[in-house]
């Protein structure tokens, strides 16, 4: 619903401003050229999306994704305290994080939802507020991604000779954002009033 209103508002802007600036011809043309641009973009990034989806599948089947997940266990204990030691929760959280790191969005969500359910059960059992669930959600909204392959494909499509040269900047920026998310979740968890 929100998205529908945003789109309607954008179109209203285009028509009102197009009229005021006398650029209605350009606006009308954009209704055609925009679709062409979308087709060209999707075609030029489709190959990269398929290639990395293929490599991710290899990592899944060869057990590499699972090994990376296991390496994350200490981080999970540090983040989630005693709930990070619960076998069921830790397993799901580590799979969720590993999938996010590797850009496996479709595998990250099911594992993340399993983790959220388990953390919620544990919080209910202990009669505490589900701060661990909120921490998990916040970490997922700020996900650290090692290889932003789709963005690299977009850069290549528009002529970048080295589309992956943004990697160090992406890593720095996503680590900062996830750190800020974790920090805020912890602070708010202590001071947030009301249920």
């Amino acid at each position: 619903m929100l998205m529908s209103r945003v789109l309607a508002a954008l179109l209203l802007l285009a028509v009102v401003f197009g009229t005021l600036t006398g650029r209605m011809a350009d606006v009308a043309l954009a209704a055609v050229s925009g679709t062409q641009q979308a087709v060209e973009l999707i075609l030029s990034i489709a190959g990269t999306i398929c290639l990395w989806s293929a490599l991710m599948e290899v990592m899944n089947r060869s057990g590499l994704a699972l090994r990376i997940a296991n390496m994350l266990r200490p981080v999970i204990v540090w983040l989630f305290g005693k709930y990070g030691r619960d076998e069921q929760a830790a397993e799901a959280i580590s799979q969720n994080m590993a999938a996010n790191l590797l850009g496996l969005g479709s595998a990250a969500t099911p594992a993340g939802l399993r983790a959220a359910k388990r953390l919620d059960e544990l919080a209910r059992r202990d009669g505490v507020r589900p701060d661990s669930v909120l921490l998990l959600i916040v970490i997922n909204t700020a996900s650290v991604q090692l290889l932003p392959t789709t963005v690299a494909a977009v850069r290549a499509a528009y002529g970048s000779p080295n589309p992956y040269d943004i990697l160090p900047a992406v890593w720095v920026s996503s680590v900062i954002s996830v750190a800020v998310g974790i920090f805020l979740a912890r602070i708010f968890g202590k001071i947030w009033r009301g249920k």
């Binding site: 989806s53 700020a142 970048s160 920026s173 947030w192």
Partner: protein, 170 residues
């Protein structure tokens, strides 16, 4: 250095697969097929968003907003072209991809604005969507501080993207 990351990573993934006795070829084919599904799933939203954004851009609105806000954003090191991307990022993944692609196309993939847009896209997520999916799944009625914490992380991602591009790639 960055030239080595991707080829070496691909080599490592395949070599590990072969060494562990996985049927690497069939995994690649199946995975690529799943990739096609992803492409098919995001295309409709990208088409709608890119067309509407192209129309808004053609009307001169985006330039006007960018020019108006440029003096405010300049001290933070954020090019005004990236502002629509920052505003849309928490709401819509394919919308942000479309707006970001527009910035990369217009400013150039190796311009400062184009790089910042790419880093922003690579280092943030669709926060509202994520919160909605998780809270619906566990039937959490009150998400308490999830939204402010997630948006705080998004703001940090945008500021950090601009700073990282200028420090590491300037």
């Amino acid at each position: 250095m960055t030239n080595y990351i991707v080829p070496v990573l691909i080599l490592f993934i395949l070599a590990h697969g072969v060494a562990s006795g996985t049927n690497v070829y069939s995994a690649l084919i199946d995975g690529a097929k799943q990739g096609l599904t992803v492409v098919r799933d995001i295309f409709p939203a990208v088409l709608v968003m890119l067309t509407i954004i192209a129309m808004v851009r053609a009307s001169g609105t985006i330039d006007l907003i960018a020019n108006t806000l440029a003096p405010v954003l300049a001290p933070l090191g954020i090019p005004a072209e990236c502002l629509p991307l920052a505003l849309l990022r928490p709401f819509s993944g394919s919308g942000a991809l479309s707006v970001g692609s527009e910035v990369i196309a217009q400013a150039g993939p190796d311009s400062t604005a184009g790089r910042i847009a790419a880093v922003m896209l690579g280092s943030s997520e669709t926060s509202f969507y994520t919160i909605a999916v998780y809270s619906a799944y566990i039937k959490m009625k009150n998400t308490r501080y999830a939204v402010p914490a997630a948006l705080g992380a998004d703001v940090a991602a945008f500021l950090a993207s601009a700073a990282a591009v200028q420090l590491l790639m300037g």
